[in-house]
Symmetry: C2
Subunit: 138 residues, 2 copies
DNA sequence: TAAATTTGTTATGCAAGACTAACATTTTAA
DNA sequence: TTAAAATGTTAGTCTTGCATAACAAATTTA
């Protein structure tokens, strides 16, 4: 039942919920609204959709909590984000901001398979700093 | 005047127009419809938008041609596509199909700066086949 | 604790991008 | 050279994701 494909947009909302809850133990709609630069009304709408898909628990004026399925999904998204950002930053030498911004978008697109390969590639590169240094000084 | 930001969707249409014209000297709406898996009606709509932005020349029941600005833009998109696909395929060892499919989406997102870095990285890797082989046999 | 402020919700609307169905035009072939 | 088939267009609808404005509830503070 709690298995439904999320749009990029809903993934962003879920990721935000997860991060805020992990940071502060709770999250309010207005914080999400500020983090994602959207109106409070859009947040309400998105939270209802996430609740309907059973990724969060939520009802009118209620506290927001995240379900097990929500945690799992959020961690997958965040993991994708981190692997992509790390490739841009640590391998290609892109600035942290640009790496993060682009990772934020690619995280919704990249397949599990490519993610795994990219993750091993990151590890392989960090085990061979010489190679990366030669690339950077090229 | 012929400078307007394109949505991912319109970039796909433009890319398809460019590729088909390069391949056959001309392109018909029905071919675009098949290539992109959309209805004929959607193609009409997209072509009107591209014409309005001056990336193609087009009018009711007229032949489709591409403008200079359209060619420039299409080549940029295709270059992005190729660099990304090449990274997935040649560096990470992803299958051609999966590499192409994912590249098709990332091409609309990646910045010029990251593209350039990725492009040099591809070249650097192909100049050091040893490194890539060690990664693949890891 | 009552008034003011903040936060959340609802109703409504808009834009993009897709669809189907009906119609128009063009092309093919009998 | 017409009749049939293929292609292109238009009109109307749907979905997603966003917005604003007005209202409701909760929270803060005087």
């Amino acid at each position: 039942m709690p298995e439904a494909k999320l749009s990029s947009s809903l993934e962003d909302y879920l990721e935000c919920v997860y991060n805020r809850i992990n940071l502060n133990g709770a999250v309010k709609a207005i914080e999400i609204s500020k983090d994602l630069n959207v109106s409070r009304a859009s947040v309400t709408e998105a939270l209802n959709k996430l609740a309907q898909k059973e990724y969060i628990n939520y009802g009118r004026y209620e506290m927001i909590s995240i379900t097990e399925a929500g945690i799992k999904k959020a961690r997958e998204i965040i993991n994708k984000h981190n692997v992509i950002q790390s490739f841009f930053e640590d391998v290609l030498g892109i600035s942290s901001t640009e790496a993060a911004n682009t990772a934020c978008q690619i995280e919704h697109i990249i397949t599990e398979n490519i993610l795994e390969k990219l993750s091993s590639f990151n590890k392989f590169c960090s085990s061979e700093p010489d190679f990366i240094n030669r690339f950077k000084n090229k």
